[in-house]
């Protein structure tokens, strides 16, 4: 248990189940999103009709609430001329008004022929005018009280409707109070199918006079003027503004009874009843199912894209976590290997020193030859250990940026020859060629540069078949840099390994690599080069050889 706790843990099941989970979520989200969008569209289809209704009915309301009450402002003084002007403004602004009848009315207590008589109060029609979109101006007058008895029945009907209402109000009116809106609506408007009748609202003082005329026996009174208007409306001329063309394919005004469910079963429909004088009609909304589906898709698309983007982001994060885990695992095994290698690395010289020490301890006396041999062995192995430790130390130092560059001018040719000479002394079979083009001096830290030389030359020798241990060092300028190219004819590196060779503790697993190396060399080189603001690249063909190019900045 403890061992597991401290060991490196990597559970792919976790990642897979997470992926499965978010994938399921994706599907659910898409499913729910689609359904909600559909529901939402259905709701909108049912509710936004109110907006269309309001827009459509706005001119009617304006006629009803503003334009018709304007009649009252004339206080009964309208005559054919001023009424014609008033009516013109209506026809101009309200195309759904078909015809207007204007009853120029007189109220008195005298007996009359055409009109209403309630108690002693008579409402007589002085003259009747009709105006309409198609009625010529010269035929507006259709009745005048100097020709009694010629008032048509239908016109008389409209007149009576409002007249009766008014008279019954006058009979019981309380003239000390102002009219409430409700009273105004009930008394002075009379609304029937496609018709609005209106009488101008008299002042309270007038009502008082009318009341007296009606209830008291008085001498024949003067004639008081009232104006009654009858508006004939055509609901089909109401202008429908489809402010939601994405929802409603067809909008029309239909009689209340209209329902085409049998003829067009594929239609989604809704309707809303018109108010007031249009109460027998409705606004009918219809859309084909496919039309609405299109709208659903249209609205759903951005939601789906959004959900997908979130899904992809999550998946990508999962991938990054997976990759990190992998890298960490590799690092973990590398460090493990390193410790292994290092232990081995230390072990060889340590055991050699141990054997040599033992031998010296156990020998009764040492011959000169033996002393020299053990001395040499001890010295060499101690050097090896020292070398190992230095490498490790400087590597960590560079990694932690603990060292400083101590630059000085060096002669490249002398510097390179010194390095070559040292290697050829060590490995007599090492063939090294040097080409320096167009450059003699370089300003850099010679210790760091020699480390780079050393590592690359060491590798070139190490990873080459006997007899192929050849190296070509070229130094030349490119752009603002100085290129050090190390080209060998060694075993080369597989493409798949190329990107790993500069990693710490990485060693290509092969037979040339059984002894000696810790896998720090190239990583160390790369660290150095980077530390000196340069870069290092590699080209290689397995079996043919590798070429390491080190580029360092060249300041003039």
């Amino acid at each position: 248990m403890d061992a597991k706790k401290n060991s490196y843990r990597k559970n792919f099941m976790l990642i897979i189940s997470f992926m499965v989970l978010i994938s399921i979520s994706l599907v659910i989200a898409l499913f729910l999103g689609y359904n909600f969008t559909k529901k939402y569209i259905e709701n909108e289809f049912a509710s936004l009709k109110i907006e269309v209704h309001e827009q459509t009915i706005a001119p009617y309301n304006s006629l009803f609430q503003n334009k018709i009450p304007e009649i009252s402002f004339y206080q009964g003084f309208l005559d054919s001329l001023s009424a014609a002007k008033y009516v013109d403004t209506i026809f101009k602004n309200y195309p759904f008004v078909e015809k207007i009848q204007f009853f120029d009315t007189q109220i008195s207590n005298r007996p009359i022929e055409d009109g209403l008589r309630i108690g002693r109060l008579s409402l007589g029609v002085k003259s009747l005018y009709q105006f309409g979109q198609n009625i010529p101006k010269d035929s507006t007058l259709i009745f005048k009280n100097n020709k009694p008895g010629t008032l048509s029945l239908s016109s008389g009907d409209e007149f009576n409707k409002i007249g009766l209402k008014f008279a019954s109000y006058v009979e019981t009116a309380d003239t000390t109070k102002a009219f409430t809106n409700d009273q105004i609506f009930k008394i002075f408007y009379s609304i029937a199918s496609n018709k609005i009748n209106y009488m101008n609202i008299p002042r309270r003082e007038d009502i008082k006079i009318y009341q007296d005329l009606m209830l008291k026996d008085r001498a024949p009174s003067p004639l008081f003027e009232q104006d009654i208007f009858s508006f004939e409306l055509n609901p089909f001329k109401l202008q429908i503004k489809n402010i939601h063309p994405e929802l409603y394919q067809f909008i029309s005004i239909r009689p209340l009874s209209y329902d085409p469910i049998l003829e067009r079963p594929d239609l989604v429909t809704t309707d809303i009843t018109l108010p007031g004088a249009f109460a027998d009609y409705k606004i009918y909304f219809a859309s084909e199912k496919g039309f609405l589906d299109k709208e659903v898709n249209h609205r759903f698309l951005p939601i789906a894209i959004g959900v997908f983007v979130i899904y992809l982001v999550l998946a990508f994060i999962t991938f990054l976590i997976y990759r990190n885990l992998n890298v960490n695992e590799k690092m973990f095994s590398l460090q493990y290997d390193f410790i292994n290698n290092f232990t081995h690395e230390f072990k060889t010289p340590v055991s050699v020193i141990k054997i040599a020490g033992n031998n010296i301890l156990n020998a009764k006396e040492l011959s000169e030859k033996e002393r020299l041999r053990y001395g040499k062995i001890l010295d060499e192995e101690a050097d090896k250990l020292n070398d190992l430790m230095n490498k490790l130390l400087s590597f960590t130092q560079i990694e932690n940026k603990a060292i400083k560059i101590k630059s000085q001018e060096i002669n490249l040719e002398v510097f390179s020859h010194n390095m070559i000479d040292a290697f050829q002394l060590k490995y007599p079979d090492y063939e090294i060629e040097l080409n320096i083009e167009d450059v003699t001096h370089f300003f850099t830290d010679p210790v760091l540069l020699s480390s780079i030389y050393h590592n690359l030359m060491e590798n070139a020798y190490k990873y080459a078949m006997p007899g192929q241990k050849k190296l070509e060092i070229s130094i030349y300028r490119i752009k603002k840099g100085l290129m050090f190219s190390f080209k060998d004819q060694g075993i080369g590196i597989e493409d798949s390994e190329l990107e790993n060779i500069f990693k710490k503790f990485y060693r290509i697993q092969n037979r040339y690599n059984q002894q000696g190396s810790v896998g720090l060399g190239l990583a160390f080189c790369k660290e150095l080069v980077n530390f000196m603001n340069g870069n290092i690249t590699v080209k290689s063909k397995p079996g043919k050889g590798s070429q390491f190019d080190v580029m360092l900045p060249y300041d003039i």
């Binding site: 402002f73 004339y74 206080q75 003084f77 001329l81 102002a178 609202i201 002042r203 009174s221 003067p222």
Partner: protein
Amino acid sequence: MLDLLKKYFYICLSVMLLSCSSNTKTEKIKAEVFFNDPQKSSFHISPDGKYLSYLQPYKGKLNIFVQSLERNEVTQITAYIDKSVKNYFWAGNEKLFYMKDKDGLQHYQLFSVNKDGTKTSLIETATDTRVEIIDQMKNDDQYILIAMNERNPENFDVYKLDINTGQKTMIIKNPGSIVEWISDKEGNVRLAVGSDGVNETLYYREHNNGEFKPVISNNFKNTLKPLGFTNQKNHIYALSNINRDKLALVDFDCSTGKEIKVIYENPEADILDVIYSKSSNKLSYLTYEISKREIFFLDNQVKEMYDDVRSQLPNQEVKIIDRDQKEKSFLIKTYTDKDPGAYYLYQDKKLIKLADLNPEIKADQMCEMKPVSYKSRDGLIIHGYLTIPLNKKGENLPCVVIPHQGPATRNVWGYSPEVQFLANRGYAVFQMNFRGSTGYGKDFQTAGHKQWGKKIQDDITDGVNWLISEKIADPEKIAIYGYSFGGYAALNQAIYHPDLYQCAASYSGFINLFTYIKGFPAYYKPYQQMLNEIIGNPKLDADYLKYASPIFQIDRIQTPLLVAQGGKDDRVNVNETNQFVKELKKKNIKVEYILNDNESHYFRDPANRLAFYKKLELFLDKYLHPDQY
């Protein structure tokens, strides 16, 4: 340390602020002070000149008080706490008659009471009866002559009233059209003015037993106002503008119906006021006003007395408001533009102060009213008054323009609570007598006929532009406010000159001229003719009336408005005003609406009036931002 610094900073700041405010220090006087009703009012002198009577609030209602001038004692003779005493008169030297509202519905009751407050008795009259005194009957201790409308609410008949018993006997029955009865110094009613509301007819009889015969009739454009009898038989004094432009004082022969001579005529102004002594049939003085009140004396004794009063009360305008029968004691009222004035009793060359009209007003805190005049675009001279706030230079001021009501009235020079209230708030107040105003002759008045919405308005606009060109008004801070016709004018100005005014306030302003016309008896031809001529024919001039009626012009209104309306107004229809305000609100025009359900055209309740003026102050403040203090 920091606290100390802070303290120091605040001290510095407050010192700075104080020094700022002390530069133009004008005390803001409470609105209540301006619109206080006078404590004592309706002063009368008893016929023998020994007692003084007046109305004074008692527990909030007006009651009658009688003061003995010899003993200087005051007796409260009525003590009503439900309704105020409306008016009263002396009947002989012992009794007073008064009328009191019975139920708040303008049903009056008539009472008599002794001057010491004893023997209050109700005199039975039909409801709606009103009583006016015609003659005290100098030579008769038992009877007085009164006019009363008991028989028919629309007709006042002449009655003889027994002071002691309250018994009343009708002596002349109104044939139906008489609106005024005039008696001679013997108490014989010999002159009557008949009117159909438009045309006036003068009736005359030589003897008490004779028949009244029409002397002369004139239409609404001409005036013949009888003042009283002269010492010559059949002759009367009258104010007349028949065959001339300005109202002049004339001697008129009732037997021939001819004007005998002009006693006084001013070439520039109508005669406003004539003081006539009935007991001696003599004229005392007359006044006229072009820009300030001018007096012309017609009696040297009166002039002497007047000069004496003026020497005791320098720089005050003086008016005689009552006198006793022997003309020894006079009731005098004084005023100036900065002083609401006071009542004095003048007796034996001595002045006794009776009461201040508004003692809380200090004249030195009020603002000077300056007569001004300007030329209208068509060359008429328009007279007006400009009141500049105290301690202000007359430059670049926020300004309130107040067109007067009417239009057939005028502004006069004198104390006006409304004007002083606004001036105290830092506004220059501008009033003008636009065409159609009275006092400047017949032509000037008729020039306003059918021009309510046009030339009258042009005169107002010209006045405001004159004020701007004189650099008196800040063109960015001008408001217009008016009552009745003035409110109508304010609305009209806002409609047709939206750039000129920041805001407009209308107190019972007419909003529909059709309704205004309808308010007059429709059936009567002369009325209609008069209305057709003064306002417009509702049928033939419908386009003009629409142009001139604010309710038809709602679409043009942009200016913020304050509208005040009485629910029982018989000249402005509350339904229409409601509609008007509703439409404006729908259009998102800033409109503030005061609706007092129980008020009529003029707000009778002082609380409502005060509330209106306070609202007006806030409203003007909101849009003009005067920097007064």
